[in-house]
């Protein structure tokens, strides 16, 4: 049976200080987006400060255990177990700090009126432990796996190119970055400022 306790989910500590507990990925859910988050301790970030302006997701943040202080569009709200905040407007900035040691927040989200697609950030987050230890082959393999299903995902191609540039696969990095920019020109701008591309920035073929 596919059954797991939230405490037994993989815990991936992200650079911004919160801990991602992959739920959708753990079960291979294809129909909707759902994840859990924990913090490193009371006062720690539990939901990253962000908007959904790019993905246009409606989101529900549900406090499964403990307490968290949410900041939504500048307003602070303290939520306990069984309480939730539904953020309809993707433009609103939202984030939360854990107030208890064992706080768990579930995040449910998706784009209204569209079939669910797996977000590129999930693959990027999943590759964080490998990237942190410079196991580039593993980080690259995770992106290739995701790209097999979404070959035209510009953000996936872009992140793959980052891993490849860092891992010394410069030809592949230029190829995939080029493809990302071809699909969505905005990535060229991002690439010019991205330190991940330091090693290939002066190569011919780097998008300018």
């Amino acid at each position: 049976m596919s059954l797991v306790h939230v405490d037994d989910l993989q815990a991936i500590e992200l650079p911004d200080g919160f801990v991602w507990r992959p739920v959708r990925r753990r079960f291979g859910i294809r129909a909707f987006g759902v994840n859990a988050y924990t913090a490193l301790g009371p006062g720690g970030q539990i939901v990253e400060e962000h908007t959904e302006a790019t993905l246009e997701h409606e989101e529900i943040y549900f406090v499964l255990r403990g307490r968290a202080r949410f900041t939504i569009d500048g307003d602070e709200h303290e939520l306990g177990p069984g309480e939730l905040v539904f953020v309809r407007d993707p433009q609103l900035r939202r984030g939360a700090i854990a107030l208890d040691e064992d706080t768990v927040v579930l995040a449910l989200g998706g784009r209204p009126g569209a079939p669910h697609t797996v977000s590129a950030w999930e693959t990027m987050f999943a590759a964080v432990p490998a990237a942190r230890e410079e196991r580039w082959d593993e980080a690259i393999a995770l992106h290739e796996e995701a790209l097999a299903e979404q070959p035209d995902s510009a953000p996936l191609l872009y992140n793959l190119a980052c891993m490849e540039a860092l891992g010394g696969r410069h030809v592949d990095a230029l190829l995939h970055l080029g493809r990302a920019v071809e699909l969505e020109p905005k990535w060229a701008e991002q690439a010019r400022q991205d330190p991940d591309f330091a090693a290939i920035r002066h190569e011919p073929g780097f998008p300018v």
């Binding site: 059954l3 797991v4 909707f32 905040v85 309809r88 079939p115």
Partner: protein, 216 residues
């Protein structure tokens, strides 16, 4: 929904609708907040042994995730049974049998579901569920409003008018019931003829000559 673009609530603020059969209680979350990406609701088993999730499959391809948010549930998925304390996540693919009972009073499960590769459309079952529960609870007007939502959501599906006919027959409104039944027959005579004869919801209009005219 406030005009702030966000809303805060507790699952205890949600309406409370006992089911017709079985013992579980629906606390409709998606409906209350107007969440559009996929289905999400809270189900509660009030007493030990009550169902939290009714025994069912999802034959139409809905993939579901259940999260125990309070208490202790006993889940059966396929042929396997497991104790599931608060914080447990249970994933069930479409078509597989599943049920859960409360092992502690007030056990609550957050249930979410959707279909792979399809944009979510709210199921009319939620409206029907709420409509019948309001009627049983003594508020046919609120029930009728929920039924109306189902009719508007799926104007060309026979299930809408058929359930509206059942609803009005139960409410003792024979004229309205027969009008809905006429529309249901128009949309899908075969299905109505299959279900209506054994449907006790329609008993109050069965002797009406107009019933015989529709379903001769």
């Amino acid at each position: 929904m406030s005009d702030r673009g966000y809303e805060i609530l507790s699952i205890d603020d949600l309406d409370r609708y006992p089911t017709t059969q079985g013992s579980q209680i629906l606390r409709p979350l998606r409906r209350r907040i107007g969440f559009r990406p996929f289905g999400v609701n809270v189900w509660v088993g009030e007493a030990v042994g009550d169902h939290v999730i009714e025994p069912h499959r999802e034959p139409e391809g809905t993939e579901e995730l259940y999260v125990v948010v309070r208490g202790l549930a006993r889940f059966t998925v396929g042929e396997e049974a497991h104790e599931a304390p608060a914080g447990t996540l249970v994933h069930v693919p479409p078509g597989m049998f599943r049920e859960a009972t409360a092992q502690e009073a007030g056990t609550a499960v957050l249930a979410m579901g959707g279909k792979e590769g399809e944009a979510f459309q709210p199921g009319a079952w939620e409206d029907f569920f709420v409509a019948y529960a309001e009627l049983r609870g003594g508020d046919p007007q609120r029930g009728r409003a929920a039924m109306q939502e189902a009719l508007e959501r799926q104007p060309d599906e026979w299930q809408g008018p058929y359930n509206a006919a059942c609803f009005e027959a139960l409410a003792g409104e024979a004229d309205a019931a027969l009008e809905h039944l006429r529309r249901a027959v128009e949309l899908n005579r075969r299905e109505v003829e299959r279900y209506a004869p054994d449907d006790t919801d329609l008993d109050s209009i069965r002797e009406d000559p107009r019933y015989a005219e529709l379903l001769a």
